[in-house]
């Protein structure tokens, strides 16, 4: 757990402590006090395993003995990183409301009208999410356009100069150095300031919406680093796009706005306090992700479907409608601001960061005969996508194992940038494919060794931002590229993009995939029209589009949302059918070999990700085998010292504790009464809600739900809470704060059943009880996520400290 060790802004040494003014309060709490304090009603921690037989206050004796025999064999051992691990770093989000007395009281106080205001606030927040996401997208677009334009002009002038005089190697050096230095800055900020901003951010958001708390993923700092990182890596000429990161940016914006405050800036606007919990925040984050997609591709419906497909496991039609609203606002904002920026204010012609351009001419139509051809392209896309993923898998594994130091990561990113420039330069240098400059819309025509008035056709592909290259491949008239150029370009770009994804820079994989696909698709179209002696329907642009869809589908394996995104980006509904077929084929073929890029990266990060359903062959497993046991329980009225000791035990970093009936007889396990969370306990300790103090009338006011919300989402670590020796002897009454109705399952419930309950309700803790309602175990996300359907049937992942 990363944030335990960190200094947190609000320290425990505050007003309450000072008021008390006790002498002994500074006595530091030692972590090692756990075993000594191991009292009644609880057994815990691997360290106390060896003595568990003596405690013997659970009636599972035979199992415990077996456990005991296994202990010597399972010494904590070190293994190299692999994909069959679950990291302890990741925790669940609390999507399930803790329905304690405070909550019920507050809900009772809110009347009908107040609920309506809450509803209106939700809409206001969605509108703001849309607007801000659109504005961020505009900012990225404009800055990238200008900086990249500047870079390409400088390099072009340099190349033009040296073409005449000789010394092109200097141009190469200039280009490579420019790229490497820009990428260095982009990589530095990511590697040293916020590593979670690396990559496209889609896996992280997927995990977040799945219910995994990725540290720092929705912080303002992450947003800033992400935006700057994207700009720098695109300007640095890497084979990346700025579309994927928009989804992450949108999510961060949504998470920030819905909370009405920024913990990083230490500003609290005192608004939207009702939404300060994981459940509400998740809904807004899914709206933010949708707004991000919508701004990136000009695809509002695609954005909504993306949220539906990739993220939100919990869905209702009002939420969908709100998310759609946010998406629409986002694309409209981007569109209007960019139109003003481009000088034609009321034109509204740029709905997304990338526009595929118009596909509505006569030649762009397709006929039924072409559909088998499209399906074949889907197969090719699936195979190439699987190859891409497999290569990237090995590369990522190597990176995790060997290139884990930030400075090495920065050096790697710089090298990739330099090599990308070099490969581009060499390709352009060697290409003899010259096209007349007249009537073409090339932004930076590079003449090099072409005749005057002509430009190097390879340069339109390499010497340009990837977005522009994609559009060129879709729309340049037939004959703009010769097959050799396209073939070489596809080959080179494939490896470059594969190499680039997973670097410590923030960058997306959408555009490179589209570009690879568009290149081979166009090549395919050209060869097709060559084979059919120039039939009218073999327009290469159309095949470039299908190739792009196939390649992207083969890499990311999205289905519904990607179809709609592509459809909206092309603005042509009739393409829906062939695109769907292509994506379907690509997914089926690709899934035969390896899984999608995002899922693969989630797995490599050892995230306990819950898929839609339990593994198919897991029916034989029951809750008894799945659960963790023994469970650390608290009594309803518990000693403060015990609570503090449990919380500060680093070896068992539990977050939820079943509350059992306080029973004076310590040898007997009492029935389950409720569930309390670590965060709640910490707030209670901080405010010193002790029975003795209440009796002495030392407590000024009753604790309200607001006190818990104010601490959300960064609850202070237990180390920052100081409890004096005297206070340790006090008692704490949990009955008011615990969730009195936690979800439970009997031991005999099968894994799929447990899984369904867990996944559908978004639980974090599921208590396993026996028939006397006594706690026998606890099922958490990691217990369920460790079962995975591998190549040889059901596999079990091991937990690891990362």
């Amino acid at each position: 757990m990363a944030n335990v060790a960190k200094k947190v802004s609000w320290s425990g040494r505050d007003r309450d402590d000072d008021e008390d003014g006790r002498a002994g309060e500074t006595t530091p709490l030692l972590n090692g006090t756990g075993p000594g304090a191991a009292g009644s009603g609880r057994q815990l921690t691997p360290s106390s395993f060896l003595r568990i037989g003596q405690l013997s206050n659970v009636d599972l004796n035979e199992d415990i003995h077996e456990l005991e025999t296994e202990v010597p064999r399972q010494r904590p051992n070190e293994i190299p990183h692999n994909e069959k691990l679950l990291s302890l770093k990741y925790e669940s989000l609390d999507y399930d409301n803790s329905e304690n007395q405070l909550f019920l009281e507050e809900e009772r106080r809110i009347n009908h009208a107040a609920f309506r205001t809450v509803e209106i606030k939700r809409w206001v927040i969605c509108a703001m999410i849309g607007i801000l996401t659109g504005l961020v997208a505009c900012f990225i677009d404009i800055v990238v356009e200008n900086l990249a334009g500047l870079k390409y002009r400088v390099v072009k002038d340099n190349i033009d100069k040296f073409t005449a005089k000789g010394g092109l190697s200097f141009s190469l050096l200039l280009w490579a150095t420019l790229n490497a230095s820009v990428v260095m800055v982009g990589s530095l900020i990511v590697a040293f300031i916020e590593p979670v901003a690396a990559g496209s951010g889609i896996p992280q958001i997927k995990c977040y919406l799945n219910g995994v708390k990725i540290p720092h993923v929705v912080r303002l700092k992450t947003l800033v680093i992400k935006v700057c990182g994207v700009i720098l890596s695109v300007v640095g000429g890497l084979a990346v796009g700025k579309e994927g990161p928009m989804i992450h940016s949108g999510s961060v914006i949504a998470a920030g706005i819905s909370q009405g405050r920024s913990t990083s800036l230490k500003r609290d606007f005192k608004i939207f306090e009702y939404f300060r919990r994981d459940t509400e925040k998740r809904d807004f984050v899914s709206a933010g992700a949708a707004a991000g997609v919508s701004a990136a591709f000009g695809a509002p419906v695609g954005g909504v479907l993306f949220s539906l497909e990739e993220g939100a496991s919990f869905w209702n039609q009002f939420l969908t409608w709100r998310i759609f609203f946010a998406s629409m606002i986002s694309t409209f904002t981007l569109n209007s601001v960019l139109s003003v920026y481009h000088g034609n204010a009321w034109d509204l012609s740029s709905p997304g960061l990338i526009n595929f351009g118009r596909f509505d001419s006569e030649k762009m139509g397709y006929t039924i005969q072409e559909i088998p051809i499209f399906i074949f392209m889907g197969v090719v896309g699936g195979i190439l996508g699987a190859l891409f993923n497999a290569l990237n898998y090995w590369l990522t594994m190597f990176r995790i194992r060997y290139i884990h130091r930030p400075c090495l990561q920065v050096v790697e990113a710089m090298l990739v940038a330099a090599v990308t420039a070099t490969v581009g330069f060499v390709m352009i240098y060697c290409s003899r494919d010259c096209q007349p400059i007249q009537g073409s819309s090339v932004a930076y025509p590079l003449q090099l060794f072409c005749a005057d008035g002509e430009y190097n056709s390879m340069a339109t592909a390499f010497f340009n931002t990837p977005e522009k290259s994609v559009v060129n491949l879709f729309h340049d008239p037939p004959g703009s590229y010769n097959p050799m150029t396209l073939g070489m370009f596809t080959l080179m770009y494939f490896f470059l993009a594969c190499w680039t994804y997973g670097l410590t820079v923030s960058a997306g994989v959408f555009i490179p995939s589209l570009l690879i696909g568009a290149a081979w698709g166009r090549l395919f179209g050209i060869s097709l029209s060559y084979l059919t002696k120039g039939s009218i329907w073999a327009d290469p642009g159309k095949y470039a589009l299908m190739g792009a869809a196939a390649q992207l589908g083969g890499i990311v394996r999205m289905t519904l949302s990607l179809t709609v995104i592509m459809m909206e980006a092309t603005g042509n509904v009739t393409y829906g059918f062939p695109i769907m077929l292509v994506l379907m084929t690509a997914k089926i073929v690709g899934d035969y070999f390896v899984e999608g890029l995002y899922d693969m990266h989630i797995q490599l990060q050892s995230v306990p990700f819950l898929h839609w359903e339990a593994p198919v062959t897991s029916h034989s497993l029951t809750a008894r085998e799945v659960m963790s046991t023994p469970v650390t329980c608290l009594r309803r009225i518990e000693r403060v010292g015990t609570v503090v000791d449990i919380l500060s035990d680093t070896s068992s970093n539990h977050n939820g504790f079943p509350v059992v009936e306080s029973n004076p007889d310590t040898t007997q396990v009492a029935g389950l009464r409720g569930l309390i969370l670590r965060s709640q306990l910490i707030v209670l300790l901080k405010h010193k809600v002790f029975v003795e103090r209440a009796n002495l009338n030392l407590v000024q006011r009753r604790l309200k739900l607001k006190d818990f919300r104010d601490a959300y989402p960064r609850f202070p670590p237990i180390q920052s809470i100081h409890v004096s020796q005297d206070e340790r002897e006090c008692m704490i009454d949990l009955s008011e704060f615990m969730n009195p109705s936690p979800y439970t399952v009997p031991q005999e419930a099968s894994l799929p059943r447990v899984f369904k309950l867990f996944r559908a309700l978004g639980l974090r803790h599921l208590v396993v009880v026996d028939n006397r309602n006594e706690v026998v175990g606890m099922v958490t996300r990691k217990d369920l996520a460790r079962y995975r359907l591998g190549k040889e049937g059901l596999e079990e992942l091991s937990l690891a400290q990362t």
């Binding site: 060997y402 070099t422 023994p630 091991s798 400290q801």
Partner: protein, 309 residues
């Protein structure tokens, strides 16, 4: 007339024409139809319209004739100057005249109601609307050629920069010709060094001027449409460039392949070094396994474990 009448006014002549046509085809035997047409014509006359509808008014007819002649002249001019392209230089007078003629048909000149009528009967009274089609064609051609770009603002004559460019263009052509003649005609295609040497100055000047014009144009024009220079200039430059670099093979850039290969292979070599060294020297990241607290007595799980390990 009152505005609500307008659609009817547009319809009435058409109706009358149709009826008259019917009457003419049917011959004199169909007296009731003829009478009907005459009645209608009288009615129209009463509504302030001329009676002899099938006939074009004399003024209109002369306008039409002028337009026909003008368009014939312009078509001829365009056709004759298609290759090498000299459209804008040679035909801008014709075009301007045609524009004026079309304007006088369309616009109200003299007696307002009559000429309005003239415009209507020439331009919009049939499905084909040949005059409109013709004038649209010419306009589109002119736009596509982007001739406005090298004409003066009032489109009388070529602009100064264009004149300058054409001057230089002629000069370079003369230079080419001159030098080629000096060398004799049947030379091997690679042996144009004389031309390259002697005309380099003119050619460079021409090229620079063209690039300059292009840059100016791109800065001045807001929309993408005016990104092109006019077709005459573009074509002239194209011809020259093609002669220069394809036929004469003059623009031989020095290709320094060796340093480029050296530098690029150096850069391409770096990642290999990087990965190898990090593989050999960097400490492999190890994960510490945590043993889970579980009951491990079930046969199923043992099965899984076996498979797993």
């Amino acid at each position: 007339m009152a505005p609500p009448w307008c659609p009817c006014r547009a319809l009435l002549p058409a109706l009358a024409l149709a009826l008259l046509g019917l009457a003419a085809a049917a011959g004199p035997r169909q007296t009731p139809a003829l009478e009907l047409a005459q009645e209608l014509a009288e009615e129209l006359w009463g509504a302030g319209l001329p009676g002899d509808l099938p006939e074009l008014e004399p003024e209109c007819r002369s306008l039409l004739a002028a337009f026909a002649e003008g368009s014939a002249a312009l078509t001829g001019c365009l056709g004759r100057r298609a290759r090498p392209v000299r459209l804008c230089q040679g035909c801008h007078d014709h075009y301007r005249r045609l524009l004026a003629q079309y304007g006088s048909i369309a616009r109200a000149v003299g007696n307002s109601s009559e000429s309005h009528n003239c415009a209507k009967s020439i331009l919009t009274s049939d499905r084909l609307q040949i005059v409109v089609t013709l004038s649209e064609f010419f306009n589109e051609t002119w736009e596509a050629a982007n001739c406005a770009n090298c004409l003066k603002n009032n489109s009388e004559g070529l602009s100064n920069s264009t004149e300058e460019f054409l001057d230089l263009f002629n000069k370079s052509l003369t230079c080419f010709e001159h030098n080629l003649q000096g060398q004799g005609i049947d030379l091997s295609p690679n042996n144009y060094t004389e031309v390259c040497k002697n005309c380099n100055e003119t050619y460079t000047k021409l090229n620079d001027l063209y690039n300059h014009l292009q840059r100016m144009n791109r800065q001045g024009g807001e929309s993408e449409h005016s990104a092109h220079l006019c077709i005459d200039v573009e074509d002239a430059m194209n011809i020259t460039r093609k002669l220069w670099s394809r036929t004469f093979n003059c623009s031989l850039p020095c290709s320094d392949t060796v340093p480029v290969i050296a530098v690029s292979s150096f850069i391409l070599f770096l990642p290999i070094v990087f990965y190898l060294s990090s593989f050999l020297h960097s400490k492999q990241k190890k994960r510490i396994l945590i043993l889970p607290k579980r009951i491990q007595s079930n046969a199923n799980l043992v099965n899984i474990q076996e498979k797993y390990s």
